[in-house]
Symmetry: D2
Subunit: 343 residues, 4 copies
Amino acid sequence: MIRVGIVGASGYTGAELARLLCNHPQAQLTVATSRQYAGKPLSQAFPSLRGRADIVCEDLPVADLAGRADFFFTAVPHQTAMDIVPPLLDAGKKVVDLSADFRLHDPAVYEAWYQPHSARELLPKAVYGLPELHRGMIGNASLVANPGCYPTGIILGLAPLLKAGLIDPDSIIADSKSGVSGAGRAAQTGTLYCEVADGFKAYKVGEHRHTPEIEQELGKLCGRSLTVSFTPHLVPMSRGILSTIYARAIGAMPDLAGLYQDFYRGEEFVRLCTAGEFPATQYVRGSNYCDIGLKFDPRTGRVIVVSAIDNVVKGAAGQAVQNFNLMCGLPEGAGLGIVPFFP
Amino acid sequence: MIRVGIVGASGYTGAELARLLCNHPQAQLTVATSRQYAGKPLSQAFPSLRGRADIVCEDLPVADLAGRADFFFTAVPHQTAMDIVPPLLDAGKKVVDLSADFRLHDPAVYEAWYQPHSARELLPKAVYGLPELHRGMIGNASLVANPGCYPTGIILGLAPLLKAGLIDPDSIIADSKSGVSGAGRAAQTGTLYCEVADGFKAYKVGEHRHTPEIEQELGKLCGRSLTVSFTPHLVPMSRGILSTIYARAIGAMPDLAGLYQDFYRGEEFVRLCTAGEFPATQYVRGSNYCDIGLKFDPRTGRVIVVSAIDNVVKGAAGQAVQNFNLMCGLPEGAGLGIVPFFP
Amino acid sequence: MIRVGIVGASGYTGAELARLLCNHPQAQLTVATSRQYAGKPLSQAFPSLRGRADIVCEDLPVADLAGRADFFFTAVPHQTAMDIVPPLLDAGKKVVDLSADFRLHDPAVYEAWYQPHSARELLPKAVYGLPELHRGMIGNASLVANPGCYPTGIILGLAPLLKAGLIDPDSIIADSKSGVSGAGRAAQTGTLYCEVADGFKAYKVGEHRHTPEIEQELGKLCGRSLTVSFTPHLVPMSRGILSTIYARAIGAMPDLAGLYQDFYRGEEFVRLCTAGEFPATQYVRGSNYCDIGLKFDPRTGRVIVVSAIDNVVKGAAGQAVQNFNLMCGLPEGAGLGIVPFFP
Amino acid sequence: MIRVGIVGASGYTGAELARLLCNHPQAQLTVATSRQYAGKPLSQAFPSLRGRADIVCEDLPVADLAGRADFFFTAVPHQTAMDIVPPLLDAGKKVVDLSADFRLHDPAVYEAWYQPHSARELLPKAVYGLPELHRGMIGNASLVANPGCYPTGIILGLAPLLKAGLIDPDSIIADSKSGVSGAGRAAQTGTLYCEVADGFKAYKVGEHRHTPEIEQELGKLCGRSLTVSFTPHLVPMSRGILSTIYARAIGAMPDLAGLYQDFYRGEEFVRLCTAGEFPATQYVRGSNYCDIGLKFDPRTGRVIVVSAIDNVVKGAAGQAVQNFNLMCGLPEGAGLGIVPFFP
């Protein structure tokens, strides 16, 4: 059994990591940190975990943390992560960081969208943890930057097209819709039930911090830099992200279904819809799947890709466990066999 | 008092018309038809109307209908409307038709997207009932084709930009999200609570029948034909449509806020968000407002417009009453003073 | 026009008062206080009110408040209200207080369930503002204590039975279910969307502070003191309270429908369901109605009453306006003609 | 591996059985019947199961069914089950029937609440499948009648109290609240999203068919017949049942927590809340748990028990698998290790 720690266990992502680890055959949760719930069982913060993850939360200094586990998931806000990750790596631990701090390779880009970076020297070592694209590098990494929830679905949705050079990289528009859990468990008026229910809105139009991450990874796929229009929206649902992605086709469009089947052949967590069908977030709920549907519209000359993930699983904790498995030489899907939960 | 009839009163649109007419100072509901609820009070179909709209539904032949009111709202499916509207007009009645049957000026376009049209001769007389754009013609019309719910928000969102020639007409992408009431009250698996709740999906990608209607009206605004990418989505909420609309800017972009303020000055039912703010469907719920927010993104050179309406009010029954008011020489906002209902 | 002030305008109840006053023919909102939104238009706190209630919020000392209006709605938390109401009364103003501070006649009971009372001398003057039971006294009052949301539906549901002596007062169990708006707009984890959605729970079992208020008013109806079992629950919906009330029948049960029709004859805001039908909160949404359904179950000898209200309207702001109308000699339903909003 | 068949696979219960069997270590789904989806993969009916349960549905005569599996779950409506179960038993198969047809021991009671029974001779053989109460008999049974969703939570909630003789059996009131999945996947207006969302209602007040089943099992526990008041309600959520149960205490009340801990010691699927805490359906979602909270209210002399289950799991498919495990000599929790899914 690999001893595993969760730093920041009392947020939604931390709790989801705990849920997944309950059923992981080779991981044992040995330490969970939380300032707010220090001294209390994690199952008090999340009664859903009663009897399953009753581990007592601790508020530990980083120095005391490293000895408590072999592997760490850091599920803390950006800017906090860059202080916690380096000492864990120094102590010889492997880390999957779920914040944004190690996702962007270029520190200047990071600092333009976030704030100054205090661990720039780690950026070249950090691997962007999207297994379907970077599996080999992840297997050899000590530090994996777990992708953002929005980028995960958008990058997986576009990868085959961009790689094949079938769309104009400057024409990409990603219109994404997320459940409310993406906003976290902090008390704030904007995510109260009454503010969100029976409503729908856009937010951070043209300004969301996942934009440079999307552009970085799409740029790798097409071999040059690009800009995308990315608009996130808030859906009155707890979980799920659906992205509707538009791009202008270049030249004649081949069989899209075949292209995607080839690209994702053997992938355990990518499911392709049959022709004419499109994914829905309710069909991936609770699971690590990314479902993808495709359409070429000859009227407008645009390709439309729709991808759906559970933002808390494939968009966060599940992908983190997938990376953990790769980094530890375990079967990639260990602990991730959850069948989507519907209705 | 003007005697008013609703043909097809037991759907969501019919019931909403009844709700609005309850508080209309110069309209009296004198006949309501429904096959399913014939012989029963409308308030049995919709207990919300108990004590307010207890009129008994009837299943009347068209021949007997005309004498029962001076003005008719036809809230029946397309293809049915084209049989009912002509005899009402022949009897000298005025009609607002809420189906798609009289919205498209070109019968060939209608027949390409729907089915054969049996009342082509009426198409030249029918006025597209978007008051903010066609107020004068509506005032003189006997037959007004009430716009579709999606087109209403999209056309109002783009009109100032297209009219001013500031965007490339061929670059328009409208990504729209609708509440479930748009699917009507017919029993079907796809709109059951458990199928829709806590989920989000796209549907009829690149194939929705509101597309030609959007293209027709946007084409009038820019003076030439165009195609748009239009993708509707289903949101787990009862009411509301939010459209996120993308277009490529042409040349230098002037002050967008000023442009829209000028264009919509004096409009009772268009509200512009302040700079940096965007609309949300929960802020127009139950009302006849269309709220609009704007952004020019210099990184991508695109303009992003977000519009929000209540699909059952401004997208259907409310706009129909607005047209009724104009056709009858009443104040345009009569009966439509409902303040949005939040939370 | 009567000049009206709202003290505490930026909560859900304050905003709902503003919404209702927009359409009130004889009231004009002249002052709205809010610490959080001082200096900003109320429509910034609630964009739904844009263009309808753009009054700028102020953070005013009580001394400066009285001169700004003739009538006040105090929509502040209990314990705060007892400081604000006395000076307003001293200045000759009439007040509807929406807190719990003046609902209980016996200060000892108040202090047992809340905290010490600093304005005990006002308790004998305060009238419990349930118009259907205390209309005459309300008309003559300067201070009306607006009933709690739960008590409103429970008391109206039981009044005819208790008054007629048909049920055992010691057998009453009220199982109530409320929408989330009852918890207010303050940021707290427990009412975040993700905590509430797709879930259901009981809270404050046997301990909710509305209990003594229910017992006081039911006691008046049957002429003796009693205790009730009252359990509130949280429903994943924004608005509405449905109470399912059980009581043991005494002797032979007469025609319940007739009893209730007689009791509530002429009441504008009580609607009785037809036999075999029961109310639903979605049929009173946004309106001032209390809908009531009835059943005598001979198998168990119990009567079951189900009542439904919109907690923000009949359970708070709407009933407050109803009281305002009575206190000012206006038609009781002025400004309250809203038809319930469905779906 | 045990070959397992699901008769009626395209309803919510059938799909949930398929979901659970995907992760069952010793069961293999070898046949799934559905009239509506005959010839199509089950994952077309439920895209959530894509890649996991792609078994093709068949519309098979009962005669051809028996040879296809060793064990059957019959998830068909009552009255249909009584035709299908006997031939399966005659063929030597074991069956868990999820309908109501074999739950009531007394055919007269069954026929009073349902319709005539055509397989009365099987009633003495059928075991009521609540493992926590009837484990031994279930292990020896060929036919287990899987309990109704409402009875499961109510019986488990009251069992320790009734067994200990601490409450008056004639005073029991069970006020239950269910998610919408309990109504099934058939298209009907009453369970459309727009009819249910943002609303709450009671239904079948005093008339629900689960009443006699509750009375039968509670009667066994206290050793005499009784009647209960049972009121079901519809909550705008997909899954979950919470029951709030009231009963009059007899004599001095001992330590309730201790009583329940003793009664349910070693039970894998019953979780007791700590004192002062109460369950919520969102904390058992997707799992086979029944969570229970307790309160004795000295003011009223009543005990209040609150129980929560996922109606599709512990209230149907999960309990069925639990029974299957017992009937086949497998570990009781095999395939049921799902951690509740929150948020």
